[in-house]
Symmetry: C2
Amino acid sequence: MASAPAERRAATDSAVAEPRWQRLEHDERRAQILACARRLFSERKYDSVSTTDIAREAGVARGLLHHYFGTKRDLYLEVVRSLMRMPSNPVPLQSPGRGLEVVISESVERWLQMLERNRGTWLAAIGGRGLGRDAEVEAILDEARERAADRLIEAVQSYEASQAPAELRAAMRSYSGFAEAASVEWLERRRLTREQVKALLTQGFLSIIRDVLPAVQSASDGAASR
Amino acid sequence: MASAPAERRAATDSAVAEPRWQRLEHDERRAQILACARRLFSERKYDSVSTTDIAREAGVARGLLHHYFGTKRDLYLEVVRSLMRMPSNPVPLQSPGRGLEVVISESVERWLQMLERNRGTWLAAIGGRGLGRDAEVEAILDEARERAADRLIEAVQSYEASQAPAELRAAMRSYSGFAEAASVEWLERRRLTREQVKALLTQGFLSIIRDVLPAVQSASDGAASR
DNA sequence: AGCAAAGTTGGCAGAGTGCCAATAAGACAT
DNA sequence: ATGTCTTATTGGCACTCTGCCAACTTTGCT
C-alpha cells in the first residue's frame, strides 16, 4: 500500500484513479471466499490450510475472512454445509402408486447420475478423501442423511415419515451407510462398474425391505415396538 | 496422571531428596500420554485441544509429547491407530464347514458383545461423535475395514481373500458400511433393540450373499467377471 | 561413589489466529 | 460534478500454539 505515490491523492479531480481494490456486494464476496476455501480445504488438511492461504487465494485481506465468517472453523463449517446442498443418498421423487421396484430403480439411477456429475465434490464431502470430519461436521452430514431416510420411508409406504416405526427408520439409515460405501467402491476404488453398483443399490434396497425388515420386526417380539 | 505431587513427603530428610518428577519406562510413559491424549481428543475438537492441555493432563512437560510422538498430528494419528486395535466390523472366526447362517450368526453375536464392552471407544473411533477424521485418518480406518472384509470373504467361500472377485469385495465393503450404520442406530440413536440389530446384521448379510450378490454378478454382462 | 545412558524439562523462535480501529470504495443526494 | 454517508476492506497488534533443542535430572550399573 505504501507504494502508491501522492499523485493518487488527486482522486477528487475528474480522472477516476484506479481503485486499489474492488468493493463487492456482501453475498458476492462471501460466495467468492467460500469457493476459495472449499478448494483449499478439499486439497489439504484442515490445519495445514491457513487463513492466510485462503485470503491470498481470494485476493483479500485475511481480516476479511473473519469479518464474513467469524473464526476459521466457522468458515470450515460453512464449506461443509455448502457441500451438503447436494443429496447424500438415493432419494425417490415420489411413488404415485407404481411398483416399488420401479420407484427404487429410478431413484438409484438418478443418484448415480448425480454422482457422475459431482464426483469430486461428493467424495470430498462424504467419501474417504477430502474434508475433515468431527462431531460437529458429522451432525451436518447426519441431518442430510436423515432427510434422505425420510424420502426413502415415504417411498416404501404411505407413512408420514415422521411417524414411521423406529426400526424402519433405522433400516433406512443402515441402507444409507450401505449406499455410501457402495458408491465409494464405485467412484474411488473402482471395484464396481456402473451396472454393478446400480444392481447392488437396487437389489440391496429391495432385499432390505422384503427380507431383512420383516426379520427385524419379528425380532422385536416381546417389546411394545410398533 | 496429575496425582504425582500429592505423595510428596514433607521433610527433606538427610536422605536423598524426593525426586521432582518420576522417570518412567519408555513404553510406559508413552502409553500414559497416549491415554490422556485419547481422552481429550474424544471430548473436544482436534484444534481446541492444545498440546499444552495434553501435557498438563499427563503431568509432563509439553516438550515430552514431541519427544515421544513428533508433531501434534502424529500424536493424534497414534490415538486413532490405538482405537483401531479393535475390530471395526462383524468378523467370523472361521467356517469349518458349518452352514453360513451359523457362522454369520455367531460372528454378529460376537460383534455385538464387543460393542457392548467398548461402546464409548467404538463410537469415538467410528461413530458420529468423537474423533475428527480426514483423509489420513480415513486411511487408517479403511485398512481396518479392509481386513474385516477379508474375513467376511473367507467366511463366504474358500477363496484366498486376496484373489476374490472385485465385486465380492465391494459387496463386503458395502456391508461394512451397512453394519456400522446399523450399530450406530443401536448404540447411539437407540432406534433398535439388541435383538433387532442382531436380526438386521444377520439377515442383511445373508440377503446380500444370496440375493444381492448374484444380481450384481449378472449385471456384469460383457465383462469377463466370474 | 562415580559414570553413563536415557528420560524430562524449560524456554525460544516462528507461525497462525482473532480482533478492531482506521481507511477507502461505491451509492446517493445535492 | 461535488460532498456526504454507508459499509466493505484493510493492516497491524496482542495473544496462543507449535516445533525444536540444549541443558538438566533421574536411574541403572560398575
